[in-house]
Symmetry: C2
Subunit: 188 residues, 2 copies
């Protein structure tokens, strides 16, 4: 309708980080994301800085130089307008993601591959998923202790547990597939 309906999820993700984590720099945002939702969300500097600039122009954030730092640092802070935009976005039902999985594509094309090779891929995949799940379990325990009492705790935990669930499911799937393939008449 108007000139600058922002629709980029990136913008909202950054806005969300600023709302949740408090004022910080573009660099900090990157770290914050790495330490929290990296499994399910990523932003590169090539996105972050232009996005902050854009949002500054449209009044969703404002920035001040960080006086307390010996370095050149811009601290971004979400504005009321930004909070309103964020909240409105959070109210909309999330869009379904359309994932692309090379592992599954390659499995689907399994008849074009030597069995042992495919099985090897599936094994690595299962191992990676299991490791990832375990790592996230550890992270969950850690966060539960360090952030005990924080209002964001249950949400942080939920995000971690999403990773645990899907990684377990992946591992189960891969192992199941391996044994099916092994018991099926192996052609190659």
């Amino acid at each position: 309708m108007n000139g600058k309906d922002l629709k980029k999820t990136t913008d909202f993700a950054l806005l969300g980080v600023l709302a949740q984590g408090g004022p910080m720099s573009g660099y900090d945002i990157r770290n914050y994301i790495s330490l929290s939702i990296a499994q399910f969300w990523n932003e590169s500097f090539g996105q972050i800085y232009p996005s902050l600039e854009r949002m500054k122009k449209s009044g969703l954030v404002k920035s001040e130089a960080d006086e307390g730092s010996p370095r050149r640092r811009q601290i971004y802070r979400i504005t009321d307008k930004g909070r309103a935009a964020l909240k409105s976005w959070l109210t909309q039902p999330p869009e379904a993601d359309r994932p692309r999985s090379e592992m599954i594509l390659k499995t689907m094309l399994g008849d074009q591959t030597d069995r042992p090779v495919l099985i090897g891929h599936l094994e690595s995949f299962a191992n990676a998923a299991e490791q990832r799940a375990k790592q996230l379990e550890a992270q969950q325990a850690l966060v539960e202790q360090s952030d005990a009492g924080s209002p964001e705790l249950p949400f942080a935990i939920a995000a971690i547990r999403a990773g645990i669930h899907v990684n377990r499911a992946r591992a189960v799937w891969a192992r199941e597939t391996i044994s099916t393939l092994n018991s099926t008449g192996a052609k190659k």
Copy 2:
């Protein structure tokens, strides 16, 4: 190294479809994908036609006009060179996907949202995932009957079951999250 190392997964996906499903048109490829791996892989015409053209130029596929059809149809067929390229790609371990999940991002930012709204999102998400899982179970039964004996059967089944597993996991996660949030001191 050389002029045209193709690295686009799209190309390999199309090559795979041609290898698996036999010679067909760009239009057919689209359908084939929709009916098989749509859950985990998609290609739009904007990708398919240029990709076929590219691969034709580099000799991975060749095309002939479909004489038997009253319509203007180009039938693409994978060449030996194409088969070799495909096989070599299939041998490489699949790259990890880096998914973006709006649902999880919004969950992570749950402290910025009214609880009931977030819970509503999670409920829809859980319902959609459960439905999807059931639908895929039905599809599995169907394919098991209709394709019985086909050498591609176990791979098709595996791809479907991947969907079943992850959708179940999503549903479980969402329901778990809902009850955690309900039992946690609701602030809003």
